[in-house]
Assembly symmetry: C2
Homo-oligomer: 118 residues x 2
DNA sequence: CCATCATATTCCCATATGGGCATGCGTCAA
DNA sequence: TTGACGCATGCCCATATGGGAATATGATGG
């Protein structure tokens, strides 16, 4: 089985660089598809596809205005992710120390070995 | 081109459910591969593969102890992600209001239309 | 050196994905 | 109604991926 379907999985939805860019662009407000496509330098169909994925995980919503479809940000789906990642906050501070300790151990061992060599 | 290589991309690394589980298990401390595999209910090769990906993005580090390889958490790589997602915090609070306004607009329009019908 | 244990790799398969291109579809203006 | 515009879809291709099974690799104990 390949990677979990991007659909209905917010983690996968934001695993795509271009989709992350889209989300960032939408911070400034709603935008039509062609607008986003041009900004990203990708063909319209590609933009539409990415937007579809974002739509499926509900990170964006659409509003039809005439011929255009204005895409807007709905960041609520990002909150769970922020919380999940945040659950590691205590570790990314501490982990430096851990790694540091580990490096210290290696150094000690190395010195010991050098001593043995003499 | 398929999705960006999972290698060297932390976002993709944590897009895999099992890899996220591994990271969570490692919160409790270092663990050998078979241990993780059993805990996740997956074969050892699968665990090794996932661990490799996590290693490549440096979310875990290995320490060789005899025949075993103890995998440990190195959450520092998660910090950038936390910050990126956090950049949307102001929106997931606000977005509810936006959506709400949008719904209000729809209601208004609907009422207007009903009024027109009469 | 040999057998065994703990892991890592490799191979093959099924599938999901992103890109490019053509096309279908709904909306608006003439 | 027709034509143009803005998007969404469908199709095909190349590729990366996860799973399963078999095997290679490394370290340990005898």
């Amino acid at each position: 089985m390949p990677r979990a379907a991007t659909t209905s999985d917010t983690f996968n939805a934001i695993a795509e660089p271009q989709r992350r860019e889209i989300l960032e662009l939408l911070k400034d407000g709603e935008r039509p598809v062609l607008d986003l496509a041009k900004e990203l330098g990708i063909p319209q169909p590609s933009a539409s596809k990415h937007l579809r994925v974002l739509r499926e995980v509900q990170l964006v919503r659409v509003r039809e205005v005439g011929k255009q479809r204005l895409y807007g940000l709905d960041a609520r789906g990002l909150r769970p992710i922020h919380e999940w990642v945040g659950g590691f906050a205590e570790f990314w501070n501490e982990s430096f120390d851990r790694l540091n300790n580990y490096v210290q151990e290696l150094k000690s061992e190395a010195q010991k070995e050098n001593a043995d060599d003499n």
